[in-house]
């Protein structure tokens, strides 16, 4: 029985091995995606993001418990950064989730970002598909500790939770573009700490600046939690489920799924084109162009155009050759 069949039959080890396959990439990974893709699209994908140390992992743990109590199966993908120097990584998100390890209704996987910017790993989208086909009702994706613009998660999730905590910035931070704009649900964690009320008010003020009074528009709820003690997590879980209902009832779920599909297609196409183009460029041509840009003999746009031209030229020549043969 091959890996995908075993996955569909509920084999946990097959799920784990398929995620590894996705991380490694290559033709075998593509074949597996092709085989399991028809079995995906069921899961509710929930992103959890926020600055380092705001309590994302602990909140994910508490949310997973809450969803399990509602008889849902849960997948968790936790991304931590890869070292730009050694290529290694220390993946520590499981520490907060230890007690879930042996629950058969939960599958937790740590992923290293492997040089990808934006808060996710290159293979996170494919790992989500694996867990989706593994019959997880809800998949939580915890990003690397995010700064201001690690917003990739908005391109992967149906519902995004942004976690904030006291003491991390003033009211101007809250109205900057980026992270706070992608939130469907705001959580002020560590609500027992000094300054939590201020953080709460700051976010509330930001939300009040939105002038729409249209009742069909989702207004992100603002919730307080003390994740370490499990306080407030059930309310966040309620909000997650409410958001899904809202997306469904308003028809936005389909629109969002379509947008995610288009963005994924565009990303894969871009990568594929780049790979094919670079494959055709000779090392000498690449080196001489790069040196030219470095020495200010040529600007980078002109250099890129030169490569594009010769790529398209090569394609046309190939076509002609084919035509001549037939």
């Amino acid at each position: 029985m091959d890996l995908v069949d075993r996955l569909l039959a509920g084999d946990r080890r097959a799920a784990a091995q398929l995620v590894t396959l996705m991380e490694d990439g290559g033709p075998a990974a593509r074949d597996a995606i092709a085989a399991l893709y028809p079995h995906t699209g069921r899961a509710h994908i929930v992103g959890v993001t926020g600055s380092p140390g705001t309590g994302k992992s602990t909140l994910v743990y508490e949310l997973a418990k809450a969803f399990r109590a509602r008889e849902m199966t849960v997948g968790i993908i936790a991304v931590d950064p890869t070292s730009p120097f050694s290529g290694g990584a220390l993946l520590g998100d499981r520490i907060r989730m230890q007690k879930l390890s042996t629950d058969e209704g939960i599958f937790i996987r740590s992923m290293a970002s492997r040089g990808q910017l934006g808060g996710l790993a290159r293979a996170t989208g494919d790992a989500i598909k694996v867990l989706d086909a593994f019959h997880c009702d809800l998949i939580m994706v915890e990003t690397v500790g995010a700064g201001q613009s690690e917003v990739e998660i908005a391109r992967a999730a149906h519902t995004v939770i942004v976690v904030d905590a006291p003491g991390l910035g003033d009211d101007i931070q809250a109205i900057k573009a980026g992270l706070f704009e992608i939130a469907d649900i705001f959580v002020v964690n560590k609500a027992d700490r000094n300054g939590a009320d201020r953080t709460y008010l700051t976010l509330q003020m930001m939300l009040d600046m939105d002038e729409t009074h249209d009742a069909t528009v989702w207004r992100p709820p603002l919730l307080k939690t003390i994740a370490l003690q499990g306080e407030g997590a059930a309310l966040v879980a309620d909000a997650v489920q409410r958001h899904l209902l809202h997306l469904r009832d308003s028809g936005q779920l389909l629109a969002r799924k379509k947008r995610l599909a288009e963005e994924e297609l565009r990303r894969i196409l871009g990568q594929g084109l780049l790979d094919r183009l670079l494959h055709q460029v000779s090392e000498e041509q690449w080196d001489s162009l790069a040196a030219g840009v470095c020495d200010r003999e040529m600007d980078p746009y002109t250099a890129a155009d030169t490569l594009l031209e010769s790529f398209l030229h090569g394609l046309a020549a190939q076509e002609e050759e084919k035509g001549g043969r037939s």
């Binding site: 490694d24 050694s86 220390l90 937790i108 996987r109 492997r114």
Partner: protein, 133 residues
């Protein structure tokens, strides 16, 4: 396509809160380019094996300073076999008397590293023995 990374689970099973050593080792392996999953303190054998399975690791490194290694390690090794993790390389570090090493090797714990073991030694051992498919 990226090169195949070595994934290592490091854990402290049993009732033993001394985690300085395991953190140092985790850092050494990270700096050697491996992906290290640290699961924290007070793990039961079931927790260690369940995490290793979900993370699809090549190596399980256990740190034990409590003297319970002859109880914990066979339990973990047996459970791992039972769950089909037959390709995993097992290492243990901590306070392990020399007399116990042959018995540990017999039960599938390939590497035993006591106090004074260098990072180079551990990294070299993993690179040589971790099964890459």
């Amino acid at each position: 396509m990226s090169e195949r990374k070595i994934r290592v689970l490091v854990a402290k099973p049993g009732l033993d809160g001394h985690d300085r050593g395991v953190k140092v080792v985790a850092r050494i392996l990270r700096d050697a380019g491996m992906e290290v999953i640290y699961t924290g303190l007070r793990q039961t054998p079931e927790m260690v094996v369940a995490a290793a399975l979900q993370e699809d690791v090549d190596v399980i490194g256990l740190s034990i300073l409590s003297g319970a290694h002859m109880t914990l390690l066979p339990a973990i090794a047996d459970l791992a076999k039972e769950r089909g993790l037959d390709n995993v390389l097992f290492l243990v570090g901590g306070i392990i008397p020399d007399d116990d090493v042959p018995a540990l090797n017999d039960m599938g714990i390939a590497g035993v590293f006591g106090p004074g073991a260098s990072g180079e030694e551990i990294v070299g051992f993993i690179r040589e023995h971790a099964k890459k498919d």
